[in-house]
């Protein structure tokens, strides 16, 4: 029975890494938001499963927060922002999809090697969960680096935060207060970024962050 518990937890965490790679692959705005919502749904399923295995009912609350906040509210809000600002529906990337995916693969390999070496004595479930969580975090960072559009950078940031939650629930004994405060700080960050988006758009007529470089006199 323990084996099945382990396998399902593993599969959900692996699915999260897969969805992070799919986020890198998407080149349309609405497709990106849909995949992001799915990312959050898989995350909340994974957290709920961890709560079930560890017998920790407070994890169900975390799962519920992730589901409501990240799978419903934030994607819907982002979608409305995209529609209202009339942002281009295609996403410009700094480098092509192929090299980005290869870099993503490299990051996944790196996090596996690092995590499995560093935590050799830990409980195997927590250990491989941590390895997956680290790859989700790194892929989120990669997404923020390789996208020029501010909305997809937000999505990258949110998926990074999903990785942090995955790591936090994998380790036993994370207090609920911390998780709730993390969830709400993400919401606050989202609101701040949303306000910034409107400001950037107002001033530069575009949410392409390359416009900021020109403004600061860094390029051209």
């Amino acid at each position: 029975m323990n084996g099945t518990f382990f396998d399902v937890a593993h599969l959900l965490a692996g699915g999260l890494v897969l969805l992070s790679l799919l986020l890198l692959y998407q080149d349309r705005m609405f497709g990106l938001l849909n995949v992001f919502a799915l990312h959050a749904v898989v995350l909340s399923a994974s957290v709920a499963w961890q709560g079930h295995i560890q017998g920790a009912p407070h994890l169900f609350i975390t799962a519920l927060i992730a589901l409501v906040l990240k799978a419903i509210i934030i994607p819907v809000a982002l979608r409305r922002i995209v529609v209202r600002l009339g942002i281009h529906r295609t996403i410009e990337t700094v480098v092509g999809v192929g090299p980005t995916m290869l870099a993503g693969m490299g990051l996944v390999a790196l996090s596996m090697v690092v995590m499995l070496r560093a935590t050799a004595t830990a409980d195997p479930l927590a250990r491989e969960d941590l390895a997956f969580a680290l790859s989700v975090v790194l892929l989120g960072l990669l997404m923020m680096v390789t996208r020029r559009n501010a909305v997809s950078q937000i999505v990258g940031f949110m998926s990074l935060e999903n990785g942090l939650i995955l790591a936090a629930t994998g380790a036993k004994g994370m207090p609920l207060v911390v998780e709730i405060s993390v969830a709400f700080s993400v919401l606050v960050a989202f609101i701040v970024i949303g306000v910034f988006l409107f400001r950037i758009r107002e001033r530069f007529d575009s949410v392409d962050v390359a416009a900021l470089d020109a403004f600061r006199g860094e390029r051209r």
């Binding site: 084996g3 099945t4 396998d7 399902v8 593993h10 599969l11 965490a13 692996g14 699915g15 897969l18 790679l21 692959y25 999809v97 192929g98 995916m101 290869l102 693969m105 996944v108 390999a109 596996m112 090697v113 499995l116 195997p124 491989e128």
Partner: protein, 317 residues
Amino acid sequence: MALIRDLLLQGAQVLLVLVLAPALLGFTRKVKARLLRRRGPPLLQPYLDLLRLIRKEAVIADNASWLFRSGPYMIFAATWVAAALVPTFATGLAFSWAGDLIAITALIGSARFFLALVGMDVGTSFGGIGSSREMMFASLAEPAMIMIVFTVALVAGSTQLSTIANYMLDHASLRVSLGLALVALIIVAIAENARIPVDNPATHLELTMVHEAMVLEYSGRHLAMIELAAAVKLLLYISLIACIFLPWGLAPAHGGLAAHAAGAAAYVAKLLLGGFLLVLFETSIAKMRVFRVPDFLGIALMLGLLGTLLLFVSRSF
């Protein structure tokens, strides 16, 4: 007596894949038409089409070489042998020692090689376009297939399909790397069979066709061979996925007649399920641009690579 029985079973398997292939094609066309709220051709239409093509005269271009005439038979033979080696309703058949994943990949690869050659043989521009695109896709689909083979072989400890199916039956578990291999194999199967996001099997629009462009010059019995080979290839991929990832219902090596009948029924059910899911996917998605296909296939390659990687890092993935 046991030898005769084994050979009979293997013969039944060889015939089964050939007989069921057009029916599967007819089934997918029917379901697709139904999903689009049309009535669709009858289930037996592919058989009738094949019969009609065989009866018709074959028109051959003046400058066609011997390759153009013999190509369809080679393509069909390679595909048929590959399909006959996949355990469909029973494991441990007489020739199951030959049912090796690498051998099957190589057989499909050589069929594709001949197809690309005969596409260029007459020298029309469409054939050339089709062949070059097919090779572009193949250069990504084949490494992806090899990576999938590695992943499955690392898990099961063998590349022989019978052994793999038995391993999967005994050690059924949800493994991340097998999940990755499954998604990758589905992508490769869609690309190899020229199904919708990659190529449209029903179109003859010049700019988008890949598979149809290569076989444009064929008619009569040659075209019948190529169409039949395409049908067998679709059946082959669905059987492969069913055999590796859904081995329940396969008859054991020395089961009785009842076990084999049950295995055959399970196999037909799996084929219907596979065909239905394929059509459902096809109707819910639009065809992608040709130059977007390498990205799509790149995903398959990447997933295969990731699966192998995970297995190397830790045995428990």
